[in-house]
């Protein structure tokens, strides 16, 4: 009886040992993967930040204005270019314009 129990215990111990060993290996691989992924995520995040900063720099209003003057010569939106609601009393606009003309 004792012999059988011992054999079983030995067998169980062996299985535990081998499975623990293989688990260790798998965990190490996964840890390495996570570490690599973390590094890659951080690098990508850094790149995204740099790109966002560059995008904002390239789209800075004074730079766009300079480029417009140089290549496009688009005119600014003036107050008169903005559409006014149809139901607005034109008498009021006329009064305002009259005041301005004075």
């Amino acid at each position: 009886m004792a012999r059988n129990v011992t054999i079983i215990l030995l067998f169980v111990s062996f299985i535990v040992m081998t499975s623990t060993h293989s688990l260790k290996g798998e965990v190490q691989i996964l840890e390495r993967n996570i570490s690599n992924l973390d590094k890659r995520i951080l690098k990508k995040q850094g790149s995204i930040k740099a790109l966002k900063a560059e995008w904002n720099h390239l789209n800075s209003p004074d730079r766009l204005e300079k480029l417009n003057r140089q290549y496009l010569n688009l005119t600014r939106i003036l107050p008169g270019s903005v559409h006014i609601e149809k139901n607005f009393s034109f008498a009021d606009i006329f009064r305002e314009k009259k005041i301005a003309q004075k």
Binding site: A2, R3, T6, L9, L10, S13, F14, V16, M17, T20, H21, K24, V27, Q28, E31, R32, S35, D38, K39, L42, K43, G46, K49, A50, K52, A53, E54, N56, H57, S60, P61, D62, E65, R76, I77, L78, P79, G80, S81, V82, H83, I84, E85, N87, F88, S89, D92, I93, E96, K97, I99, A100, K102
Partner: protein, 571 residues
Amino acid sequence: MSSDNRPTPFYRKREDRIERDSNSAKSLAINKKRIVLINILVVFAYILISARLLDLAISQENYKNFNNQLLTKYELPSPKTTRPDILDRNQHVLATNLRVTSLQINTKKIIDIEDSIEKLNGALPRLSKKDLYKKFNSKKNYVDLARHLKPSEEHRVNQLGIPGLDFHYEDKRYYPYNNLASHILGYVDIDNKGQSGIERHIDKNLPKNKSIQLTIDIRAQHIMTREIKKAISTYQARGGAGIILNAKNGEILSLVSLPDFNPNTKKRRDIIEKEKFNRAISIYEMGSILKIFTAALALESGVGSMERIYDVSQPLRLGRKIIRDLHPKKDSLTLEEIVVYSSNVGASLIASDIEEEYKGLLKEFFIRMGFLKRSPVELPEVVKPQGPKLWGKVNTLTTSYGYGISLNPVQVTTGIATMVNGGYLNQPTLFPIKEKKGKIRKIISEKTSKRIQRIMREVVANENGTGKRADVPGYFVGGKTGTSEKVGINGQYDPNLLMSSFTGIFPYFDPEYIIMVMIDEPKKITKGSIVTGGAIAAPVVKEVIKGLISLLDIQQKIKHYDNLKASNHKI
């Protein structure tokens, strides 16, 4: 009896028993040995397993630590130096961190100093051989060689393969818009510590783990900067400041001070003092803009009325002090006209009436408006205002038209917002207001506020109004001019050193935005030209409003005006 039947002698039985016992003891001994052996094996196996588990546990920990070290050293910035991104109200990046490389040397690992210096100088010519020699022979183990390497420089150094050279990665603060919001954002030192502006405010008051959004609209900031720059250039002024404030909640859309600086400048000491000086939060005697507050108090207290007439034909003499008007009027003016034509004598007469009726009311009113304490706007450099030490009659009368009390432009803009938004004092802020916190102080009534709106509209719409150059036809601009003399070197007010300002509101019937422009010491560019707030600052406000129309939802306001008229709302 036969011999077979003989009984076993007693000694024989004993021998048998002894033999039997002897066999049993032997087998027992053998079994014992086996059991012990098996036990030893089992115990050994368990020890082995336990040891292995322990080993795994420790080695896993080490493994993790190792990885973390790697990440910390080469990828993760130190938490101490991490700063949050700063965004404008439309999520444009105003300040961010970029990963940069620094070069360090481990002096103990260097094999051939001469050769290393020669190679390194070739790859990084900006490091002189003399400096390198000094650093390579340092007694310290680790010495910094160069900070903020360019990617190309890092590549060149890496190619050298010199043992003992280490790269370190750290964050560098970067401002994509350069100068554009420099006086709001401030700057950081080489260790990423905030030195001024919002950067300094963050270090003291805010968590560093997430992005920070401001109320600033970078497009509005650009328009304001562009127009003030033009005025400074035209009038050869010393500087200028501008603010766009949401009248309904105190959010600041733009805060400009010129000259400004580039916070990306490598050497911070290159930023000179006059560039660091923020005019938008420094204190000045603001001049006639304060007449709005005097008029509002008179109307609110019942001392004055819109139709009440004041004789402004003569200068006002108070002991040695004589109060005069820039453009004297020969007749009497109503309260409204006093503001429209910006009469110092008239404002003094109104203040005199208030003081006679309610002594100390003007001072109390300024205290309630927060004019005698530091503005709560989140910039550490805000200068505390200065009022008269003694509120005697002369001082009280001069404060009524903006002399003897020094305020910063943010305070004045906030004050004007209070006067025209129905009377609610919203504290100015650079951070979006998600929910109204606490009680918002009511300063004046709706009725008085409407009257002030009308007066401010008259300043611009009236053909003789001082602010007529700010009008944008169809957009109902109101406002008030301010021209004050600065104190010269001799300690006296100098008529050649002017501070010209204009504070505009639009649309006047339901003001959403308050726009203030101040030009510091404009010069007379032609003989006889005038450099008052109405002549210089008002046109700047006009141009800013024209620029903002395409950005802000102005059409909705016009529609709202229509609705107000439809409901017979008196304006």
